[in-house]
Amino acid sequence: MSALLSLERVSKRFRGLVAVDGVSFAVPQGAIFAVIGPNGAGKTTLFNLIAGALAPDGGSIVFAGEPIAGLAPDAVCRRGIARTFQLVRPFPALSVEDNVIAGALLRQHDVGTARERAQALLRRFELFERRYQPASALTLPDRKRLEVARALATEPKLLLLDEVIAGLRPTEVDRMVAVLRELNRESGLTIVMIEHVMRAVMALATRVLVLDHGTAIAEGTPEAVVRDPAVVQSYLGAEVV
């Protein structure tokens, strides 16, 4: 299996503070790859670097065989990487359906086709009944689902999910896990997810990367990673699963 996304010694500093420090990893095509680590470990910064919201200070990011480091976020999305935001940001005044249509129009130039696609996604994420409501009227779990649906509407090869499961109720967690697994199996969608909910990580991820203070301290299968002494000490030690 060839790597769809690979990072090589990627670094990012903010005024002297090293947020991401020489991180390297590769995500194979079709994988579900989880990034875990304590708060402030640099996970979201790492995502912002991949998604083009930030430009790295050093290192290379290669997606589908092409370097993408430093590209604008919209250019990254057009290459096939879609993302969600940790603090969700749907288009508040637009209806739920229009939110997803705006994403679908990236590949589907016809509004009618884009609407069909959007509706299919909304059914999948159980938002179809609320499709005419403004996005601002949704509850937080619904807004998280809407973000995922909108990101998927851009027909990505790689989906970056920033804590879409944290904050959901247990039944909702299971539904989201099921949907993500389905997407991965059906279309071979590659997923990179930042997640705190270890239950979801253990259930979904094929590989896990552990970040701490901006450096990768472990990488491997979920089972191996949670047994890694360094990981247990730095991260899981405090809140044993």
């Binding site: 604008a72 940001r89 705006a102 994403g103 990101a151 851009t154």
Partner: protein, 338 residues
């Protein structure tokens, strides 16, 4: 083909909305036979502000870019068409065609300067004012258009209406601006329901999220500015041929830009009907004030404007969304709206 476009336009518009629009259009169509000359002029001015408001709304209401200098584009259209007419006898419609690229290029320059660095939205707003003022002072010294002495068009004989050369009586001008307003309304609806419209709304709502779904925000913001500028330039051509005189101090005055904004803001920014309703509310208010002031024999310069300002203050304090959105909800015009 025409039928197809019309069906698409009416697509999922509530029935009662269509009926209301039909009644309104019919009333406006027969208006010249009913109202006197003075009221007809008031209607022309009202439709003019509805048209310019609709054009401004593309930039602000759809794409979220606050322009405070749209008088610039109207002024360029006015001066270009008027100069072509007086110097070369070239008619206003050709003049309009010529003014489209000029106004669009001007908008593009402002947009380029403001959007290139993705800095705060205030930059764009202030740049638009600055360019408007630049043009005002520049044209005040531009001798080929008579500088501050003003440019005059030969006043028409009212013997017959010449639509091609826009020479005629107020009724002809009324129908021209009515047609333009209807066209602008239709164009805005088509734009809003097309790919570009969805992208604009996304940018207006959250530019960073818009980029995350792959929208080239710079490009689509530029489209909004360019389309709005080109549309506004027609208003200028109309202005030149309706008033027959142009002074930089008036045409490019920042007050003209503000007038273009008031209608849609009062009516409802980002709504299709807001600019039209707002224009009627504002001009109705101004005319009522005029009538009241002259009825009580009060002739105090500035008093009308103070009252006008207070009314504005009241509307923005009491109706933050503008007049139309709450009205539409109350009348049930938003039902079945997608």
């Amino acid at each position: 083909m025409t039928v197809a476009v019309i069906t698409r336009l009416a697509d999922d518009v509530p029935r009662r909305t269509l009926i209301l629009l039909g009644i309104l259009l019919a009333a406006l169509l027969v208006a010249p036979w009913i109202v006197n000359d003075y009221l007809l002029t008031v209607l022309i001015v009202t439709l003019y502000s509805a048209y310019t408001g609709q054009a401004w709304n593309i930039m602000m209401g759809f794409a979220g870019q606050l322009s405070l200098g749209n008088a610039l584009y109207a002024g360029l259209g006015a001066y270009l068409a008027a100069a072509l007419f007086t110097d070369f006898g070239i008619g206003p419609w050709i003049g309009f065609l010529a003014s489209i690229p000029v106004a669009a290029a001007c908008g593009a320059i402002i947009g380029f300067l403001a959007f290139r660095f993705g800095v705060a939205g205030v930059y764009f707003a202030i740049l638009t004012i600055a360019f408007g003022e630049f043009a005002r002072i520049g044209f005040d010294h531009l001798t080929i258009v008579n500088a501050s002495a003003g440019l005059f068009l030969p006043v028409a004989q009212y013997a017959h209406n010449d639509l091609w050369r826009l020479r005629g009586d107020p009724t002809m001008f009324y129908y021209v601006i009515l047609a333009a307003t209807v066209l602008a309304f239709v164009l805005c609806r088509l734009l809003l329901r097309s790919r570009i419209g969805y992208f604009w709304l996304a940018i207006r709502e959250d530019e960073q999220a818009a980029r995350a779904v792959g929208i080239d925000t710079f490009r689509y913001k530029m489209y909004a500015v360019v389309i709005s500028a080109a549309a506004t330039s027609f208003a200028g051509v109309f202005y030149a041929f309706f008033y027959n005189n142009l002074f930089p101090e008036q045409v490019f005055n920042i007050g003209r830009s503000i007038e273009m904004i008031l209608g849609p803001v009062i009516g409802g920014v980002g709504t299709l009907f807001g600019p039209i309703l707002g224009a009627f509310v504002l001009n109705g208010l101004a005319e009522t004030l005029n009538a009241t002031m002259s009825a009580v024999g009060l002739d105090l310069p500035g008093a009308k404007e103070v009252f006008y300002g207070l009314c504005l203050l009241f509307v923005i304090l009491a109706l933050p969304e503008g007049v139309w959105p709450p009205l539409a909800r109350r009348l049930g015009f938003d039902k079945g709206k997608r």
